[in-house]
Each structure stands twice: as structure tokens, then as C-alpha cells.
């Protein structure tokens, strides 16, 4: 609980919002961000899927080292890393406790560590790839590999809107707290306070639903006037829109680099 309290002190909503915006737009200058989105998709495909099929700890560790270096390069926000670590530790610990509880012994630690390593590689890959693309780049990349235009637009839009939505949600939440009356007693294990907060958290979505639907309408109408809906369904328009995307020398070299890295890992440790 002590740890959780410390965490929550650092974790103000303002901070979260800034981190989110940073994730979306702040990393344009890193090496990975200058690559073509498709290169990043290939990277993700390899490091996000392959670990499931690998049982060799050394290879997994090698992959982990590589992807951790990439994460450092991509300057991923610490908040997201913290959430990731908590998630990984939580899941591993959960299975450990559970199987100890039902009469397993400590021999389970090793497979669990392997599993955690696997999950870490996969998660880091997804974080790295996503943080190195701004919403527009992501949506263009997805469009290029054949995802329908409506979906790619929605993804980019959601990506862009999340920080402001979070802020709005926070405002609504605060105004509910301001006008409402908090329970006087905390109750056993703070349950009254928790129940109160949960209630407000749910109620705050009511105004948000209304304002968000207004916003959705404005957005789609703006899209219509720009002719985007026409563009989604016509290949020529799409081609024109995506004409700027091209593999550069950097992309080829990078692909070659991580393929040869993976290959050497397999050669060394099998």
C-alpha cells in the first residue's frame, strides 16, 4: 500500500496527460520515428509474435536486450514503462502465489520467469513501435497495408483525442467532487471512500458521453466537407495520399540489421 501511495502521488492526472501527449507527438526526432511505418510494423511482427514460438531462454534474452535498447532509443515515457512493469510483475506474482497456494513448489519460478521474459519482449516491442509513430503516421501506415480508411482514421483520431478526453473527464470528475459531499467516515478498509469514488467515476461519463458524441459529429461532418469519405473508397485518392511513403536506405539497413541480429541469435544458441 505504501508503494501504491507513493506512485499515486507522482501520478497526477496532469502528468498522465502530458505523458500521453508526449507519447503521441513528442518523439518525432528519434531514430525509429524517422523510419517508414512499414519497417516498424515488420519489427513489431517479428518481436511481437516470434517470442511465443521460442523456448530458448538465451534467445529470448538476446531479443530482450535488443528490444530494450530500441525502447531506450525510442525514448518511451517512463509512465508507460511503469505501468508495463507493474503489469508484468503482477501477472507473474499472481500465478506464483496461486500455484503455491494450491500446493506447487518453487520449481515453478523458472518457467514463470521465462514467461515473464517472453511477455516483456512482446510488450516492449508494441510500446516501442507505437511510441515512435505519431497518429498521422500510424494511420497512414495502416492505410498502406490495407486497413479500411474509416478504421485508420478512427484510430488516429482516438490517439489524438485521448489526452484532451482525459483532461475533460478529470474536469467533470473534479466538478462532481466539488458539488458532492464525500462520506464523512472512511469505513472499514476505506470502503466508503472507494465506493464514493467509483460512483463519481461512473457518473462522470454521463456528460462526457454527450460532449463526445457532439464532437464525433463535428469531426465526421468536417471529414465529409473535406471529401475524406470519398477518398476512403477510391484507390486513386489513396495512392495520392500515400505517395510520400517510401522505404529509404535507412529502412533497408535497419531491417537488415535486426534480421541479421535475430539470425545470429539463433545461430549462436541453438
Amino acid at each position: 500500500m505504501e508503494y501504491a501511495r507513493k506512485l499515486s502521488e507522482k501520478l497526477s492526472v496532469e502528468q498522465v496527460k502530458i505523458e500521453l501527449l508526449n507519447t503521441a507527438y513528442g518523439n518525432g526526432h528519434t531514430f525509429l520515428a524517422k523510419l517508414d511505418p512499414r519497417t516498424l510494423f515488420i519489427l513489431y511482427l517479428l518481436f511481437g509474435v516470434m517470442p511465443w514460438f521460442v523456448h530458448n531462454e538465451k534467445i529470448l534474452f538476446g531479443m530482450f536486450v535488443f528490444i530494450a535498447a530500441m525502447t531506450l532509443l525510442a525514448k518511451v515515457s517512463p509512465l508507460i514503462l511503469v505501468i508495463l512493469c507493474l503489469g508484468l510483475l503482477g501477472q507473474g506474482g499472481y500465478y506464483l502465489i496461486a500455484s503455491l497456494f494450491f500446493g506447487g513448489d518453487l520449481s515453478i519460478i523458472l518457467p514463470l520467469l521465462e514467461l515473464t521474459l517472453k511477455l516483456a519482449v512482446i510488450s516492449l516491442a508494441s510500446i516501442t513501435v507505437f511510441c515512435s509513430m505519431d497518429p498521422e503516421k500510424l494511420s497512414n501506415g495502416l492505410l498502406k497495408i490495407g486497413v479500411p480508411g474509416q478504421v485508420t482514421f478512427s484510430i488516429a483520431y482516438g490517439y489524438r483525442m485521448l489526452p484532451s478526453l482525459l483532461e475533460e473527464y478529470h474536469h467533470v470528475f473534479l466538478s462532481f467532487r466539488l458539488r458532492g459531499k464525500a462520506p464523512e467516515k472512511h469505513g472499514f478498509l476505506y470502503w466508503q471512500a472507494i465506493a464514493y469514488f467509483c460512483k463519481i467515476a461512473v457518473l462522470s461519463f454521463y456528460p462526457l458521453l454527450l460532449s463526445m458524441s457532439k464532437r464525433a459529429r463535428t469531426t465526421v461532418e468536417a471529414l465529409e466537407t473535406k471529401g475524406s469519405l470519398y477518398g476512403f473508397n477510391h484507390p486513386e485518392v489513396k495512392k495520392l495520399k500515400l505517395a510520400h511513403m517510401a522505404f529509404g536506405k535507412r529502412d533497408y539497413l535497419f531491417i537488415l540489421f535486426f534480421l541479421s541480429y535475430l539470425a545470429s541469435l539463433f545461430l549462436l544458441f541453438t
Binding site: 511481437g48 508495463l84 497456494f101 494450491f102 520449481s107 518457467p111 461519463f205 465529409e224 529509404g248 545461430l267
Partner: protein, 294 residues
């Protein structure tokens, strides 16, 4: 009947509005639930699993299909991939199961002002989703993963844990974060939120029998999707074993096999890269860009 059809006749842009709305709101709520700390009581986890009331409300008020798929996509992208919690094939199971559950919940409500109907639909949605995921998780252990058998206690414990988390999710998250908020929100939003998207509210004077809704197509489709969900989840676990089996057959050659194939792959990749670089240089890139800008 004609009015029922009218409800589904949304324009392309209206569908997109529903999609965007559902995706961003559910994505936001997922981010919030992800940030809220969980409480553990021994092996048992008390947590806010999800704010299911958002997709439920939207599915009941709008076109269920677009709202359901939008919510699932929002969850996968903002709750999972962006925060690095993506689990590969297993996510497809979640995606399908969740969309299916929300869709069924949305389509089974005839009158959004009728609180009992809304409540039943909300609980149905949660139960379908949780039941599919619990069954999939249990079957996964019973059928697929033999390594876990070697560890004493794990197989039983997973069944118990899954059973408990099913009950926990349905009774705790389900009632607190699906049933109550949905019953509260749907009648209040009905008639208010639709004009904001430029649509008419659902006409509640139309009544159609349960048979119209739960037609054979929906049931068959549901079962098919549930099986598909299971398949993906199973694939995510046993895909590992499949590959291993293959290698067991050729165990003597396996090292050479792997090394050789990787070598070949590397050579092919190298050659392709070289060729592409060369081909890339030939047409002058600047000319292309001028064409675009002009």
C-alpha cells in the same frame, strides 16, 4: 417491421460517428481502469475489470454492431497496444468475444426506457463475455498446455481461479460497473444523445418478438464466433507446441534445419534489400515528389 429496419439504416457517416464515439470513450475508460490499482486478497484479485457500461449503453442506444466493434477496437488499441499489454493471438479472442457479447446485449433490448429489459441485457452481455473467456482459459489448460501438468497444483488452481474470477467479474464488476450504470444511463440518455449525432432515437413503440431477434442466424453466428475465439486463443498457446512437434520429428536435423533456414532467409533478405536499394536509386525520387505537390 419496417420501422425496425429503419433503425439499421444509418448513413455511412453516422456509422462512423457511432464507431468513433464508442472507440474513444471505451479506450479512455480502459486507460482509467488500467491505471487504477488492483487489490489482491491472497490469490484472489479484486479489481475493476472494465467499465462495461459504456459499450453496453452505446450498443443499446445506437447500432449495436458498430458500437460493439468500435469498443473492442478501442480496448485493443488504447488499453492494450499503447500500454504494451498486447498478447498476440489471445487478443483476438478477447476482441471477438467482447464484440459478440456487446452485440447480443444491444440487439436484445427492444425498449431502452424499460429498465428491466436494459438490466437483463446488460447482465447477459457481461455473462456471455465472461463465460466465453473463462471457458477458453480453462480449456486451454486442460487440453493444450502439457507443461503445466508437470507442475503440481497448477491445473486445479487455474480452474478454481478462473471459476472464481468469473464469479467475481460477473457479480462484482458486472453489477457495479455494468448493470447499475447502464440502467441509470440508458433511460436518461435516450432521446438526448441521438440528436447530437443527427439521428432519430430508436422507436420504442415497435415491438418485435424474441424470435425475430434470436433467429437461427444470430445463434449460429454466435456459436461460430465463439468457436473462432476459442481457436485463436488456443492457437496462441499451442502454436508453440505445434512448432516443437514438427521439430521433434526432425530432431536430428533440427539444428541444421534451423541454422540452414535462417541462413537462407538472411541471404534472401540481403539480396532483396540490395536489389531494392538499387531499384530505389534508379528512378529519381525528387521527380515523384514534385508530381505529388503539383
Amino acid at each position: 417491421m419496417s420501422q425496425m429496419k429503419k433503425r439499421y439504416q444509418l448513413t455511412q457517416s453516422q456509422k462512423m460517428m457511432v464507431f468513433i464515439l464508442s472507440m474513444s470513450l471505451y479506450g479512455l475508460s480502459n486507460m482509467i481502469t488500467e491505471l487504477v490499482p488492483k487489490a489482491y486478497l491472497g490469490p484472489v484479485e479484486f479489481s475493476i475489470e472494465y467499465f462495461a457500461f459504456i459499450p453496453l449503453t452505446l450498443c443499446i442506444l445506437f447500432h449495436p454492431l458498430y458500437a460493439a466493434v468500435g469498443a473492442s477496437l478501442g480496448e485493443v488499441i488504447f488499453g492494450e497496444i499503447m500500454l504494451g499489454q498486447f498478447g498476440g493471438f489471445g487478443e483476438l479472442e478477447k476482441f471477438i468475444a467482447f464484440s459478440l457479447a456487446m452485440y447480443v446485449a444491444g440487439i436484445s433490448v427492444r425498449d431502452p426506457k424499460n429498465k428491466r429489459q436494459v438490466g437483463i441485457a446488460a447482465m447477459t452481455g457481461v455473462i456471455i463475455h465472461q463465460a466465453i473467456s473463462a471457458i477458453v482459459d480453462i480449456l486451454k489448460v486442460w487440453i493444450g498446455v502439457e507443461e503445466l501438468e508437470a507442475v503440481p497444483g497448477l491445473a486445479e488452481s487455474i480452474v478454481v481461479i478462473e471459476g472464481f474470477s468469473f464469479l467475481n467479474d460477473v457479480l462484482f464488476s458486472g453489477i457495479l460497473f455494468a448493470l447499475l450504470p447502464t440502467v441509470y444511463l440508458v433511460p436518461r440518455l435516450y432521446g438526448k444523445i441521438e440528436p447530437l449525432l443527427g439521428m432519430k432515437p430508436r422507436d420504442n413503440s415497435v415491438t418485435y418478438s424474441l424470435r425475430d431477434i434470436l433467429g437461427p442466424r444470430l445463434i449460429a453466428g454466435g456459436i461460430f464466433l465463439a468457436c473462432l475465439a476459442f481457436l485463436f486463443e488456443f492457437l496462441s498457446e499451442s502454436g508453440i507446441n505445434l512448432i516443437e512437434w514438427e521439430l521433434d520429428v526432425a530432431e536430428a536435423y533440427s539444428e541444421w534445419f534451423i541454422a540452414g533456414s535462417i541462413f537462407i532467409a538472411a541471404v534472401v533478405a540481403g539480396i532483396t534489400t540490395m536489389l531494392m536499394i538499387r531499384r530505389h536509386r534508379k528512378p529519381s525520387g525528387s521527380q515523384k515528389k514534385e508530381e505529388v505537390s503539383s
